[in-house]
């Protein structure tokens, strides 16, 4: 595979993100929700495939939780349709939907033991008690809580509660599992571990997952596709790589990790390559884009910190952009270091480098004069 070629071409999402002609497992069609005239969800379209682990990502108040609650049936849409497995479930009450949810605060029933919490969903279905017992036992084994069945929720740790909530939501074999900030309440170490457990569980059971989160890292590691949400609308839908490497606009670029954005003016466009100037030709930026721009257009040219190399000597390469500056700030994180470099125009550029070698001699130190360089195809052109 020609890696270079792939990198050169800005990637367009190949998976459908709204086209209604493709029969998807879950179809959200022109869904809106208004609260007293405020549009929490504004004409949203989304198709999700069976067995997918899909993430909806956005800041607080972007409407992601409202969307999730509408899927669960806990909130009634103002307009639009939700179709699950070929059935229009828009008007179904929550208790009839083959959808279960894991709540952010877990919402475990405090007066019931772990077993009873997990069994609750099955008991509402008039399933014989012997079968319930069997399925609860199996589910508790699956989430490694077999010894905790008789405990009440207040006697559990955060991670244990999370697993009880997961078991309770999975026991009815839902067609769709909704997870509201599933890892937010866990500490960092536990979060990483749980993340992988969640992915393994999803692969094992084949249940379609929709995760709602404000944490871009959580979304990227968990999901096969991500929808970035802002003010009740999807800004971009795509795989984690697409969204990270080819963000559609400034909001997405900024939301996912750190990024340096140069406000530049287009001075030339040749096919897919544009040349732009930043701060009156102090810096000439080159990047690729599918979009057509005109000379004089204002664009943002963005580069991720890890795509930038830092060196004391002037790099020799025709295909790179070079800028000069002095090290303003430096942070050592063990596995990587972050430099904040002040360019000649006074702009701070963030650079991160992997510490491949165990070198006590820091090559670059505070106030060193350095050259920053990156390849043309590392730059992203942001039109808005």
């Amino acid at each position: 595979m020609d890696a270079n070629n792939k990198m050169n071409k800005p990637h367009e999402p190949q998976v459908p993100d709204g086209s209604p002609n493709i029969q998807s497992f879950i179809q959200i069609q022109a869904l809106s929700k208004e609260f007293n005239g405020f549009k929490a969800i504004d004409q949203v379209n989304l198709n999700i495939h069976k067995g997918e682990l899909f993430a909806i990502l956005g800041g607080s108040g972007c409407g992601k939780s409202t969307l999730l609650r509408m899927l669960a049936g806990l909130e009634t849409p103002s307009s639009g349709k939700i179709i699950l497995d070929g059935e229009d479930i828009t008007d179904w009450p929550a208790y009839e939907r083959p959808i279960n949810m894991m709540f952010q605060s877990y919402a475990l029933f405090p007066h019931m033991t772990v077993e009873k919490n997990v069994a609750y969903g099955l008991q509402k279905e008039k399933i014989p008690q012997s079968e319930i017992d069997q399925r609860v036992k199996k589910m508790l084994d699956l989430v490694q809580l077999s010894d905790f069945g008789k405990r009440k929720p207040d006697r559990l740790s955060g991670g244990e509660k999370q697993r009880v909530a997961l078991a309770r939501a999975l026991i009815k074999n839902p067609k769709l599992l909704l997870l509201d900030e599933p890892l937010a309440a866990l500490d960092k170490k536990l979060r990483e571990q749980t993340q992988f457990e969640l992915i393994n569980l999803q692969e094992e059971l084949g249940v379609t997952f929709i995760v709602v989160t404000h944490d871009q890292e959580e979304a990227m590691t968990l999901a096969s596709r991500i929808a970035v949400m802002k003010a009740g609308k999807f800004v971009q839908i795509g795989s984690p790589t697409e969204i990270y490497e080819y963000p559609k606009n400034r909001f997405v670029a900024d939301f996912f990790g750190t990024i340096n954005i140069f406000d530049a003016i287009v001075i030339d466009q040749d096919d897919a390559q544009i040349t732009a100037t930043f701060d009156q030709s102090e810096l000439i930026l080159k990047a690729y884009t599918h979009n057509t721009t005109n000379i004089g257009d204002k664009v943002g040219i963005a580069v991720r910190p890890e795509k930038i190399s830092i060196s004391k000597d002037l790099p020799v390469d025709a295909n790179i952009t070079i800028s000069k500056g002095i090290v303003w700030d430096l942070a050592y994180y063990g596995n990587h270091s972050i430099y904040r470099v002040k360019t000649e125009s006074g702009r701070i550029v963030q650079v991160s480098t992997q510490n491949h070698k165990r070198s006590s001699e820091h090559l670059v130190e505070w106030n060193d004069e350095v050259y920053l360089s990156w390849e043309q195809n590392s730059s992203i052109v942001l039109l808005d």
Binding site: Y95, M101, F103, A107, F109, Y120, K124, R155, R168
Partner: protein, 303 residues
């Protein structure tokens, strides 16, 4: 706490804070009860005080103790007391049920209201306490009497031809007790329901619980401590209630409070009255002790 003197001061202060409520209980609950308990073993005499001393030091020392169980035995013999006790339990129980049925939806509604509205509603619940309790009971007499507001209105609109007897009936007693003690049910219930996590309802609905099932499976059991607290706060004072049955009730609505009053102030039989009071306290305290025991046990089982 580097300064040892300060540490000592803190310790002392903590001791005082802990001791104060105990001191209060001993002085104003335990000591009076001990006195009543002591009197209940004496015999009545026409004197000041109107009961025989429990210890007579003029007797030889084997006969010092002059007490007897006569009063308690008498309570068993005369069924007036049994009837009063049972009636009181019945009235208190039924009133508690009505308070719960009325108070629960009210407390729930207040707890689910937006904060500003919530404070207004709570104010309205507490507002009657700003008027004297006795005054409010008298007001009810005015409302319920044969030429009171309700009867006048019904007569005027022609719904009835002659006034309905409402005052001096059991109905009036229940109405008075439920009216008076409703806030005592609402407030602890509100305190409990206000903390209710609505996510629990969503979770139960999401797992297939229909609205009524969600109420039965989740809301009710989770609010049980509030229900128990409110019910005790209504049941206990309603059990010993004296003023309401005396003013609003008829001749047949004899409750233990009235019997107690009559023994003390009409018959001036303090020892017998003391025995009545002691039994009343036992009736109230024993179930609570039992309840606390089982509660403590279930907490232990969980840990």
């Amino acid at each position: 706490m580097a300064n040892p003197r300060q540490a000592l001061g803190d310790l002392l202060w903590r001791r005082i804070v802990i001791v104060l409520p105990y001191l209060w209980l001993v002085l104003f609950f335990l000591v009076p009860f001990a006195i009543v308990f002591k009197i209940s073993f004496s015999d009545p005499i026409v004197a000041q005080p109107p009961f025989t001393p429990l210890f007579d030091q003029s007797q030889n020392f084997l006969n010092w103790f002059q007490g007897s169980l006569n009063n308690y035995l008498f309570l068993l013999e005369d069924n007036l007391y049994w009837v009063s006790y049972l009636r009181s339990i019945k009235v208190a129980f039924i009133s508690t049920i009505f308070c719960l049925l009325l108070g629960y939806p009210m407390a729930y509604y207040i707890a689910q209201s937006p904060p500003t509205k919530r404070n207004v509603l709570l104010m309205l619940i507490i507002l009657p306490f700003w008027t004297s309790f006795l005054l409010r009971v008298y007001a009810w007499m005015g409302i319920l009497s044969t030429n009171g507001i309700i009867n006048s209105m019904f007569l005027w609109t022609g719904i009835i031809d002659e006034p309905i007897q409402m005052l001096y009936t059991n109905f009036a007693v229940y109405l008075g007790i439920v009216y008076t003690y409703l806030p005592f049910m609402i407030l602890p219930l509100y305190a409990n329901l206000e903390r209710l996590d609505l996510n629990l309802h969503d979770a139960a609905a999401d797992l297939g619980g229909k609205p009524l099932q969600v109420f039965r499976d989740i809301t009710l059991p989770v609010s049980l401590p509030g229900i128990i607290a409110g019910s005790l706060l209504v049941f206990i004072p309603a059990m010993g209630e004296f003023v309401i049955p005396a003013l609003l009730g008829g001749l047949d609505s004899l409750m233990i409070g009235r019997t107690l009053y009559d023994e003390f102030f009409v018959n001036r039989d303090w020892p017998l009255a003391s025995a009545v009071a002691t039994i009343l306290l036992l009736i109230l305290v024993l179930p609570m002790v039992f309840f606390q025991r089982t509660q403590a046990k279930s907490v232990e089982e969980n840990s």
